[in-house]
Every structure is written in structure tokens, then in C-alpha cells.
């Protein structure tokens, strides 16, 4: 739909030139404050300064802009500004099929996209009251746990990178590389897998996937242990993350934290155990928790979770039954009218989806509850009082991913 104004005539065309004074990049917005909090935040005491962190920044995990109010090096207050990656996923899902929603929701948690695909899939299956074949369920769990490990491996690298260590992220990428290669053998894609389908999965396990998986499993546990030795007990790393961004149990519940940040405060809430779905009831795993609630606890928790995921994959490979991988569904999928809420555990926390169907083949409303979105509020709560450098450490330890936050 090319219309007159969208056709660029030339880059020197005065029509498209917008005079942008330098002050538009000010941290202070050019309009008077509209809410109490805005007024409180944007009024500066003596000696305080507003500084933008982002949206282009090596350490915000995506395009996130955080306005810091600093007094010297100390952060007095902070205000995250979102929306730089807002793609209107929920609205676009309403315009397409339930099947299209799988591809639309894929880029939400783009580094572990099996989880974000599960949103429309699980909601539609609940609305249809569909029984997914057990083999498909097991394959889903396998894929989910592999994605969880690759996401956690990357998290560990990111946290170290934001603190200045250049090496752990490349170690994390070794794991991620191998997992991504095996998932590419399984799904054909390396990042946005598009593998889950309503009623099952897209393709069965094949020989290349299983051989890569076997190779990797043989060395994964030991290799991850070995790679962690670089920073786990490194004095500088521990001193940068201990007692940083401490969240206690009550605050965690009030701030709607979920996932590893919640479990690091001592509350053993994991959706796979609290409200089991898929074949998790048949699998034997523990929920690692820690009690300190600081960044170091969150970091160590991710390592514990990797070990649990390895154990789960082991069991899945032993217990996986034969059978079909896809339930029988009509081509034109009309989902019966109703409302359904599903929740599952992604590497970042509890992913939720509330789907409303009006009987047609398009979702009437697909609400996506992303854990990173609610977890990010905790940054504003715990950072004041720390230094600017700590903002990075705290934000990275909460593991935000902007695809999900901005939807």
C-alpha cells in the first residue's frame, strides 16, 4: 500500500527532514509531568543528575531505556522506559489464525523461543480440550528443557559480561551453539523454531538430533562445571554480586516476581510443580531454591537449574514412548468459544496466557503475560542506593529479555 507520503524521494528532500534539536535526547521529557510518580522522579534535588541508560547500550538486554537519577555515582531513583521493541503482538494475533499466532508469538522470548511458541499452543489446546499424544508431550518437554539450558548458559555469560568478564559468555555460547545445532537438526531453525503445533509438534525426532544430543549430554554436565570455575569463586565477581539487589520473600510476592528471582528468595514456587502441565508430573526433579535473594543467589540458582534440566532430559530420553506426534485436527481450526488461562515455567519465570475465543478461527483476545515484564519492576525497587555499575548487575541478574517485555 504505497501512498504518497511513504515514498522517499531523496534523502535531502525537505519533506522528510525533521529538525531534531539535541534536547530531544534529554532524559527529561518535554512535557510537564502527568502522574505523581513522574513529578516525584523528574524533580531534581541539588546535585542530582538525570542520565539515560539506553536505548542503545551494550548492557541493557535489548532496547531498554532506563532513566537514572544519580547523585555522583549513587543511583537515587530509576525509571525504565519501555516500548522501543513494542511490536503489537497481541493485536496482530487477533488478526490471524490460532496457527499464525505461533509464528507471531515466537519472537517474544527469542532466545528460548520454544517457550513463547507454547503460548498460543497451550491456550488453544485448553480451549479445545485437546489430548496431546504422549510422545509429542515428551518431545515438547525435551525441547523446552534444551531451550532452558541454552537460555541459562547465555544468562550466565551475560551477567559476567555486564560485569566486565569477557570470557564466560563465550563459554555459554559453546553450550548454546551445540544445543542450537541439534535443535536445527530437529526443527530446521536455529533461533525462532516454529516447532510447536496445536496438538503436537511439527516433526519427529531424527537421527541427527539424537546423535548430537547424545554427544552433547555426555560432556555437558562436566563442561558446565568446568566453565563455571572461572567466575564462581572469583573474588571480584563475588564481591560485585553478593548482597546486591536483595529481595526478601514478602517483597518478592508483592512485586509479582516469578522464576529464578523468586526462587532465589526462598519461595519454592515453580509452575512445573505448583500447577503441573504436560508430562512434568511423571518426571522426577527438584526445585532448587536459595535464601539470600541477592544477585549471587540468582546466578547460582541458574546453574542449579541447568543441572536439574539435564536430569529431566535424561529421564525424558529414557521414558519417551512411541506414538503419533500430532493430534488429529481439522484444517480450518474453529476453537470453541470460551476463556482459558495457562501458565508454564520459562527460564525467566512464569509465562502466562489468557485466551478468549469467540468460536471462530481467530483468537478474540490473546493476552500474553511475560515474566520479564513484571520482574523488571524490581529493578526500580532495589537499585536506589547502589552505584551505577550495580544497576547493570541487578538488571542482568533478573534476566530480562526485551522481546517479551515489549511484546
Amino acid at each position: 500500500m504505497t501512498t504518497e507520503h511513504t515514498r522517499i524521494r531523496s534523502l535531502d528532500d525537505p519533506h522528510i527532514f525533521v529538525d531534531t534539536p539535541a534536547t530531544i535526547y534529554d532524559a527529561v521529557p518535554p512535557y510537564p509531568p502527568t502522574t505523581e510518580r513522574e513529578a516525584e522522579f523528574y524533580s531534581l534535588q541539588d546535585g542530582e543528575m538525570l542520565i539515560n541508560l539506553g536505548p542503545q547500550h551494550p548492557s541493557t538486554h535489548g532496547v531498554l531505556r532506563v532513566v537514572l537519577k544519580i547523585d555522583g555515582e549513587r543511583v537515587v531513583d530509576l525509571d525504565p522506559v519501555l516500548g522501543y521493541l513494542h511490536r503489537g503482538v497481541e493485536k496482530i494475533c487477533e488478526n490471524g489464525d490460532w496457527h499464525h499466532a505461533i509464528s507471531n508469538c515466537d519472537p517474544l522470548e527469542y532466545i528460548a523461543s520454544m517457550f513463547s511458541e507454547a503460548i498460543p499452543v497451550l491456550v488453544a489446546e485448553k480451549l479445545l480440550d485437546l489430548e496431546v499424544p504422549r510422545r509429542a508431550d515428551y518431545i515438547r518437554v525435551l525441547a523446552w528443557e534444551l531451550n532452558r539450558i541454552s537460555s541459562h548458559a547465555l544468562f550466565i555469560g551475560w551477567l559476567a559480561l555486564d560485569l566486565g568478564g569477557l570470557t564466560p559468555i563465550l563459554y555459554g555460547f559453546i553450550e548454546r551453539d551445540e544445543i542450537v545445532e541439534m535443535l536445527a537438526a530437529l526443527t530446521g531453525q536455529k533461533l525462532l523454531f516454529n516447532y510447536l503445533r496445536i496438538g503436537g509438534v511439527n516433526g519427529d525426532l531424527n537421527h541427527e538430533f539424537l546423535s548430537r544430543l547424545g554427544d552433547w549430554m555426555g560432556r555437558a554436565g562436566q563442561r558446565i562445571e568446568m566453565q563455571q570455575k572461572l567466575i564462581n569463586e572469583n573474588e571480584i565477581f563475588v564481591r560485585r554480586t553478593r548482597n546486591l539487589g536483595t529481595v526478601d520473600r514478602e517483597t518478592a510476592l508483592r512485586m509479582c516476581l516469578t522464576g529464578p528471582p523468586l526462587r532465589a528468595t526462598g519461595i519454592p514456587y515453580d509452575v512445573r510443580r505448583a500447577h503441573p502441565y504436560s508430562v512434568y508430573p511423571e518426571l522426577d526433579f527438584e526445585i532448587p531454591t536459595r535464601t539470600e535473594g541477592d544477585s549471587w543467589a540468582r546466578y547460582m540458582l541458574h546453574i542449579d537449574e541447568i543441572k536439574q534440566s539435564l536430569h529431566i532430559i535424561d529421564q525424558v530420553l529414557h521414558q519417551i514412548p512411541d506414538g503419533p506426534i500430532m493430534a488429529k485436527l481439522p484444517r480450518l481450526l474453529r476453537v470453541p468459544p470460551g476463556r482459558a488461562w495457562i501458565a508454564f515455567e520459562s527460564p525467566r519465570g512464569q509465562y502466562g496466557a489468557y485466551g478468549i475465543s469467540d468460536g471462530s478461527d481467530q483468537p478474540f483476545r490473546l493476552r500474553i503475560h511475560d515474566p520479564s515484564y513484571f520482574n523488571l519492576q524490581t529493578v526500580g525497587l532495589v537499585t536506589p542506593g547502589h552505584l551505577i555499575a550495580d544497576t547493570m548487575a541487578i538488571m542482568s541478574s533478573l534476566d530480562p529479555i526485551m522481546g517479551g517485555i515489549d511484546k
Binding site: D26, P29, L82, Y269
Partner: protein, 239 residues
């Protein structure tokens, strides 16, 4: 790790009356339904429905704060985890839907604050109970226009601060709305009369730096010729 695989799994921290069979159409916690009706009966605006593993109650916006406080703080309920807060546009009215979890029941609880009029949707904010709901409410305001009274920071979160219109409402149509499925009827482009929004002349925004130059159908409230450049506040040098 540690438990022999032969032992049956018992979910921890919950009432063991939940059967191990986790298929979708298992019966729900009827006790919860009764408890909710007993405790909150007069504040509910509709029957307590239960389907699959979710129990659902409907309240009016006036009663919402009391109901949520009761759900959170009553030791018989202890719905301490707010799992989600979302807005819904049913086409006629707006709703706010909350999902809660309690360690005492295997079911999710859905609280629907129904009957918000489209012109002036107001609902009490629950940030006094869950501070983390602040951003959820901001998003509902941004996408639907629902005003949460008591939220200290009710401004837009995804859209630019001077955006007019509420994207997730049903009367906000995307420009490329031609993706309607064939099962539903004719394609949008083939409809006999296109809505007035797409016939409007696109407006070149002249306000500096905020938003894009292309006005789509969604920017219908932006008046042509509106220039921004309000008073820039006394600034810090540099970004």
C-alpha cells in the same frame, strides 16, 4: 535427583486431594467454589464458574478492592501470587481480568472486573496490595484506556507518551487488516464500504523526535497541523 524413579510423584506444598491425573478435563476444586460463594457472595456480580482448572468470579469495579484484599489476606484463601493482570475489550464493555494463585488450592482463580463502560472505564488499583501490579495496570491503561484509580504512575508504557488512541480496543484497526481468515467472510479489502479512518489523508507529523512520520489509521486523533514543541523543561546538558 536423589529420589528413585519408581516412587509416585506427589506435588509438594499442595493439598493431596488433587488426583495425579493431570489431564485437562479433570474436575476442579469444588470446595473453592463453595468457599468463595460463602465468603464473598454479596460482592460477586455473577455466579462462580469453574472450568478445567480455573475458578472464575466476576465482580463489579466498585467491589474490586475489597474482594482482592479479602482474597489476599484471608487465611482461608491466601491468594498471594498475582499471576496476571490484563484488560479485555469484549466489543461492548471493557473488563480487567486478574489471575491469582494460592498455595492452598490446586486451581487458578480468575477475577473479572466486568462492566466498565467504554467512555470512562475506571477501576480501583490494586497496587496497594501488589506493588508489581503497577506496570500491569499501566499496560492496561495504555492498551485500553482503563483508568486505575490509586495507581501513582498511570502513564503510557509501550506507546509514546503523546499517543492518542488505545491500540487493543476493538475499534482500533490496524492499517494492514487484510489478514482476516477466509473462514470468517470476505477479506477486509473486499468489504463494500471501508471505514472512514483509512480514507483520511495521512498527516505528516511536524513535532520533533516523537514518533514516526507515517500516520496510519491508528493516529486518527492527531489533528492535522498540530505541532508539538511544548516548553522544553530546563535541561541537563546533553543526553
Amino acid at each position: 535427583m536423589g529420589r528413585p524413579p519408581g516412587r509416585p510423584h506427589r506435588p509438594r506444598g499442595r493439598l493431596t486431594e488433587a488426583p495425579p491425573d493431570q489431564s485437562r478435563s479433570r474436575p476442579t476444586d469444588t470446595a473453592l467454589k463453595r468457599r468463595l460463594e460463602a465468603r464473598l457472595g454479596d460482592q460477586l456480580a455473577g455466579p462462580v464458574r469453574a472450568r478445567h482448572d480455573t475458578t472464575e468470579i466476576v465482580v463489579g469495579p466498585g467491589n474490586l478492592a475489597a474482594v482482592m484484599r479479602a482474597l489476599r489476606e484471608d487465611p482461608a484463601f491466601r491468594f498471594e501470587l498475582l499471576a496476571d493482570l490484563s484488560g479485555v475489550d469484549t466489543g461492548t464493555v471493557l473488563q480487567v481480568v486478574y489471575h491469582l494463585w494460592s498455595p492452598l488450592t490446586p486451581d487458578w482463580l480468575r477475577v473479572i472486573a466486568d462492566g466498565l463502560p467504554r467512555e470512562d472505564p475506571r477501576v480501583p488499583s490494586i497496587t496497594f496490595l501488589w506493588k508489581g501490579a503497577e506496570w500491569g495496570e499501566r499496560e492496561a491503561y495504555d492498551m485500553f484506556g482503563i483508568i486505575f484509580e490509586g495507581n501513582r504512575d498511570l502513564r503510557r508504557i509501550y506507546m509514546p507518551p503523546d499517543f492518542k488512541g488505545f491500540p487493543l480496543r476493538k475499534d482500533f484497526l490496524l492499517p494492514d487488516d487484510a489478514a482476516r481468515s477466509p473462514g470468517m467472510g470476505v477479506r477486509y479489502m473486499e468489504q463494500p464500504v471501508a471505514p472512514a479512518e483509512t480514507r483520511r489523508q495521512p498527516v505528516l507529523r511536524t513535532s520533533p523526535g516523537t514518533g514516526s512520520l507515517v500516520a496510519g489509521a491508528g493516529h486518527q486523533e492527531l489533528v492535522a497541523g498540530e505541532t508539538a514543541a511544548p516548553a522544553l523543561s530546563q535541561g541537563e546538558p546533553g543526553p
